[in-house]
């Protein structure tokens, strides 16, 4: 099986694995776009391709398992959204009020677009301290995974995912207030 082969570390499998979860990623992107108001002109597929390419660029990363894959993909999503926001802002320069709402099942609601950048930076800071917390939050808020799915991928129970999210959010707030 491909999954097993890639789990065993066969490098060419990464490409294939990404292709395999193409649909799932696409769905994530759909969900993502539906919930954010960013660039309604952007085709979902474009967004997915961006995520896909980002993953390939980060070849050095070792994808140990499915969870790792989703964590990477979710983080890529976040990066994509932030990039898109920045590009949009550069283009319009103080123009249209883009409202960004990232609503996964965890509902990380952003009330102003600038907040997206702030959140992004705070998450990067937090990642220096505890990568796992950020991954969990990414999967929930940017990957559109439910707590149950995250629990399944991480092989832990839902309650502990909730606690991780609580901690992540607390620290996120902390770092944002420090910014």
């Amino acid at each position: 099986m491909l999954l097993r082969r890639y789990a065993e570390g066969k490098s060419e499998s990464l490409n294939e694995v990404v292709a395999l979860v193409y649909d799932e990623l696409r769905q994530m992107a759909h969900q993502h776009l539906r919930r954010s108001q960013i660039g309604q002109h952007v085709d979902t597929t474009v967004l997915v391709h961006e995520a896909y390419e980002k993953l390939l660029q980060g070849k050095t990363q070792q994808l140990q398992d499915r969870r790792h894959f989703f964590a990477v993909a979710s983080r890529a999503m976040r990066q994509i959204v932030v990039d898109m926001y920045r590009a949009d802002r550069a283009a319009k320069r103080g123009g249209g009020a883009i409202s960004v709402t990232l609503t996964g099942s965890q509902m990380l609601e952003l009330d102003s677009p600038e907040q997206l950048v702030t959140v992004h930076q705070a998450l990067e800071t937090l990642a220096e301290h505890n990568r796992e917390l950020v991954e969990t939050l990414d999967m929930a808020c940017f990957g559109g995974l439910s707590n149950e799915q995250i629990a399944e991928l991480s092989d832990c129970n839902v309650r502990s995912v909730q606690r991780k999210l609580q901690r992540a959010q607390t620290w996120l707030t902390h770092f944002m207030s420090q910014a």
Binding site: M1, L2, L3, R4, E16, V17, A19, L20, V21, Y22, D23, E24, Q27, R66, R89, G94, A97, S105, Q106, M107, L108, E109, L110, D111, S112, E114, Q115, T118, E128, H129, N130, L133, N147, E148, E152, Q162, R163, L165, Q166, R167, Q169, T170, W171, L172, T173, H174, M176, S177, Q178
Partner: protein, 925 residues
């Protein structure tokens, strides 16, 4: 706080431990920590004090709300509130930007209320939305308009509007004001999960707020879903009077406003875009659009992507499609209401918001709406449909309803009762109902229930010293209350009747027995066990004399009915035989009574497994009812017979009995709950005979015949049927939609009996599980579930289903299958791919997969393999797969059999339940 990595790790661990605890345990855990950790942890927990709530959604919100300094680091400071102005708005503290509009920015703000003069911080924090005029756009014109909005708001005080709190000027002299911060969601989004009636009620509330403003000569001019939030308590709040105008300074027309955003255009009235005078009629038009959106989920015309000039033309010229075009469930009356409000000519719309709201309310109450041409026959039809039973009890002549074309079967049934009712009793009832007569007071908002309640003291006085009169009137009242489903009032009427009977000195006679029959059958509808107990205590074994005979038979019939309901079939059958014996003894030849007896005997025969006898009794029952010339009773008997025939799989005969029964109802124009039950049973027959589309249509029709506010149980059964039929049809989306819609109502209606909505949840779960077999439906499902907000409940239910699935194996197979699909799309799918997969699948799946998953995989695989059928070996393979799929389907059916059976059994037992003949207690001689 130092959050170097060492310190972070330690604090993070402590934080994790703290979060593992709840409430006091957490507090004491933090208390025992040494400093400085304790201080740090306390601060962190404070940062997210809301986070203690398990609901993660609220956690995130709290995080956001705690972010204090948003906007300050934004790039375009020019128009923003400068740092120097921060906190300068009174004692208010600005937090984050809520939004911005043509005139200014709106911020979320708080202030700590001072409890006393000591200067100490009070113990509560007041929240507000503060609007501040843009710095650069503060021209004298916008300034004047801003001040006008402030003035308008300050003059309004209504629960449906955001309250004005405070106002002032910044150091740079820009005006600001604070208004109540409303947390909520847009009304159209909120309405999606509601029933049509609930949406309408929400809408009526909005109208009240607008009407309030109109009374103060204020036109809102920007009513749209985005400006109406539904708060946590479920009440709509109208916001943003930013473009509102006071009617006497109307010169500042909308066309001069810089608010030509597409969204506003979408909700603009013809006179707004054409520059004509904007009056309250414009708000009425916008309310019409709002109602349209609430009912259909869409706007009459999409103006987003079309050129402005064309949009204006559309707004001014194009007649929108009726709401029912988008949502077939919307009746013609509602179409008429919406279209009246959306008339291009302001003078042709409702004159006031209040009349608009009243018409909607009339629709909710099932009364004639004004939006429809007021032909006499229309009003009569509408009234009779709603109150056919009442009309028949009271007597049509009393209501001056001379529309002789309308024949009521109940009228015929009641004719004898009316003939014997005393003139005095007739007069009292006539007086009461004159008040509810649709012709009597045009525009009156009185409902029948209101009329009755209001008339109650008057009735009491008029019957005070005349027990016989009291008895007669209360008998009629009991029947009326029964027909409108007010069971408490019904029972008190029957109790009053029993009191009158004892005042008449009638201990065990016909007056008493008639009351017993009434009260007992009312009890049987709410609490059958109690009803049986009541009958046990009050029913004499046999009538004392021929005088009591008719009353006794009526009560005995109710008694047996109650026993059947509690499944005390032995006693029920014994009661039936006593009844038969008594009828023999007195030589009762009354066809209707004999018909009823035959029906009871048929039931007894069924339990004795005597099919021949049962058939014979049913035929007798039908014959008797035909002879009784009592179409209403005949219709009911026919439908029961039809159900019986259906049980024997004699579908053709069953159908013709149903059709005859329904034709009687149709002819009579009687659209009441009994008819609804008959149609529902007929739908069951259609379903069993494979006519699913017809079954669905019939079920939907039966649901429209039920009053929205009562008959919860019948509604619930009907909706559950609908869920089942649409599901079997493969319309998972609709099935789910029905469930989503019914669930909240069911939970509310069956608060006392949670087993009922629980059943619904289980069936919901099943649809969910099965629904995943359809890949396209799966996405829709996720979306729907999110929308209905009961995801947690669903998951809880799903967990109880316990799928024995090895998740890794399942995931692996799905991923591989996805890859195959990819390859197929790219036309590079090879036989080897399929063979490889099938091999892997066959080795893995049976061990880990449940039947459902096997089916899903095989289904996919079969479709993959289909184009590759050329070599015979592969054809063989495919056929094997198909066969496997079929057997997997069978397995699934087996796996879910208990659940399906439970639901089917439940449905069969209620939907197929035989109806008791409607039973008018006999009148006194």
């Amino acid at each position: 706080m130092n959050t170097g990595s060492g310190s972070f790790k330690q604090l993070d661990e402590l934080l994790d431990q703290a979060y593992a605890l709840d409430g006091e345990a957490r507090s004491s855990f933090v208390e025992q920590l040494p400093e400085p950790q304790r201080g740090h942890i306390q601060k962190l927990l404070e940062l997210s004090h809301e986070l203690t709530v398990s609901d993660i959604a609220r956690d995130a919100q709290a995080v956001i709300e705690n972010i204090d300094r948003l906007g300050s680091d934004s790039g375009n400071e020019g128009d923003r509130v400068r740092e120097s102005n921060r906190g300068a708005a009174g004692r208010w503290r600005l937090h984050r930007e809520l939004g911005s509009g043509g005139m200014g920015q709106v911020f979320f703000a708080t202030r700590e209320a001072l409890e006393n003069d000591s200067g100490a911080s009070g113990d509560y924090v007041q929240e507000a939305a503060i609007k501040i005029l843009w710095a650069q756009r503060a021209t004298s014109e916008t300034r004047a308009r801003f001040l006008r909005e402030r003035r308008i708001l300050a003059s309004l005080n209504h629960p449906g509007l955001a309250r004005f709190i405070d106002g002032g000027f910044l150091k740079d002299s820009r005006p600001w004001f604070a208004m109540e911060y409303v947390e909520g969601i847009d009304i159209d989004e909120y309405a999606m999960s509601l029933s049509i009636d609930a949406r309408l009620m929400l809408f009526v509330e909005v109208c009240a707020s607008v009407a309030y403003a109109h009374q103060r000569l204020i036109v809102h001019r920007d009513i749209k879903p985005q400006n109406i939030l539904v708060d946590r308590s479920g009440h709509p709040r109208l916001l943003d009077f930013g473009v509102a105008s006071v009617l006497d300074d109307i010169d500042d027309g909308i066309h001069t406003q810089s608010s030509g955003t597409p969204l506003t255009l979408q909700y603009a009235s013809p006179e707004q875009v054409s520059g004509a005078l904007v009056t309250v009629a414009s708000d009425i038009y916008q309310l019409g659009l709002l109602l349209y959106k609430l009912l259909t989920g869409t706007v009459p015309y999409e103006l987003k992507d079309i050129a402005l000039r064309k949009a204006l033309l559309v707004i001014c010229e194009q007649t929108p499609p009726k709401p029912s075009v988008h949502n077939a469930k919307i009746p013609a009356d509602m179409d008429a209401i919406v279209m009246t409000a959306l008339n291009k000519d302001p003078d042709e719309r409702y004159r006031t918001v209040t009349t608009f709201a009243e018409d909607v309310q009339r629709f909710i109450d099932g009364r004639p709406v004004h939006a429809v041409p007021q032909t006499r026959s229309y009003v009569t039809r509408r009234f009779l449909r709603r109150h056919a039973i009442i009309a028949s009890i009271v007597g049509f002549s009393a209501l001056a309803l001379t529309a002789a074309t309308i024949v009521s079967v109940r009228m015929a049934k009641e004719a004898s009762a009316q003939a014997t009712r005393s003139a005095a009793a007739q007069q009292i009832l006539t007086d009461v109902f004159q008040k509810a007569d649709p012709f009597a007071g045009q525009g009156a908002t009185v409902t029948l229930a209101d009329a009755l309640t209001r008339a109650q003291p008057d009735i009491a006085v008029r019957v005070a010293n005349d027990p016989l009169l009291a008895w007669e009137v209360n008998l009629a009242l009991g029947q009326i209350y029964e027909s409108v489903g007010l069971v408490e009032q019904e029972m008190s009427a029957y109790r009053a009747m029993l009191e009158a009977a004892s005042a008449l000195g009638d201990a065990n006679g016909r007056y008493f027995l008639t009351g017993v029959a009434g009260l007992g059958s009312a009890l049987a509808r709410t609490n059958p066990v109690k009803a049986v107990q009541y009958f046990d205590e009050n029913m004499p074994t046999r009538p004392r004399s021929e005088d009591d005979l008719e009353a006794w038979l009526g009560a005995q019939y109710s008694y047996v009915g109650a026993l059947n309901r509690v499944r005390e079939y032995g006693r029920a059958d014994a009661g039936t035989f006593v009844m038969a014996d008594v009828m023999d003894e007195y030589g009762v030849s009354n066809a209707r009574t004999r018909g009823r007896l035959s029906q009871l005997l048929a039931g007894a025969a069924r339990r004795a497994d005597d099919l021949d006898a049962e058939n014979r009794h049913w035929q007798d029952a039908v014959e008797h009812m035909r002879a009784a010339n009592n179409p209403s009773a005949l219709a009911v008997i026919l439908s029961n017979w039809a159900i019986h025939l259906g049980r024997q799989k004699r579908y053709d005969e069953s159908e013709s009995a149903f059709l005859e029964s329904m034709a009687i109802f149709e002819r009579a124009g009687l659209e009441d709950p009994t008819f609804a039950a008959v149609i529902r049973s007929y739908a069951g027959l259609l379903f069993r005979t494979g006519r699913i589309d017809e079954a669905i249509a019939a079920t939907e029709r039966s649901l429209t015949l039920l009053a929205p506010s009562s008959q919860f149980y019948a509604r619930f059964v009907g909706e559950l049927n609908l869920v089942r039929y649409t599901f079997v049809k493969g319309d998972v989306g609709k099935s789910l939609d029905t469930l989503t819609r019914s669930l909240p109502a069911a939970q509310k209606a069956f608060a006392d009996d949670p087993a009922v909505p629980q059943r619904m949840l289980r069936s919901f779960a099943k649809v969910l599980v099965f629904g995943r077999a359809h890949s396209s439906a799966a996405t829709a499902l996720g979306h729907e579930i999110r929308a209905c907000g009961s995801e947690k409940q669903l998951l809880a239910v799903l967990e109880t289903l316990e799928h024995p699935v090895d998740r890794d194996a399942r995931n692996a197979i799905w991923v591989a299958l996805n890859a195959l699909l990819q390859k197929q799309r790219a036309s590079t799918l090879s036989q080897a791919d399929i063979d490889g997969f099938v091999g892997f699948y066959e080795n893995t799946a049976p061990a880990f997969f449940d039947a459902l998953d096997q089916w899903r995989v095989l289904d996919q695989l079969a479709s993959l393999a289909a184009p590759l059928l050329l070599p015979s070996e592969q054809a063989q393979r495919y056929q094997t797969l198909s066969a496997e799929r079929l057997s997997a389907e069978a397995l699934i059916s087996a796996q879910y059999a208990p659940e399906v059976d439970a639901i089917a059994g439940y449905l069969g037992e209620t939907a197929g339940d035989e109806h008791q003949c409607p039973q008018p207690p006999p009148a006194p001689d």
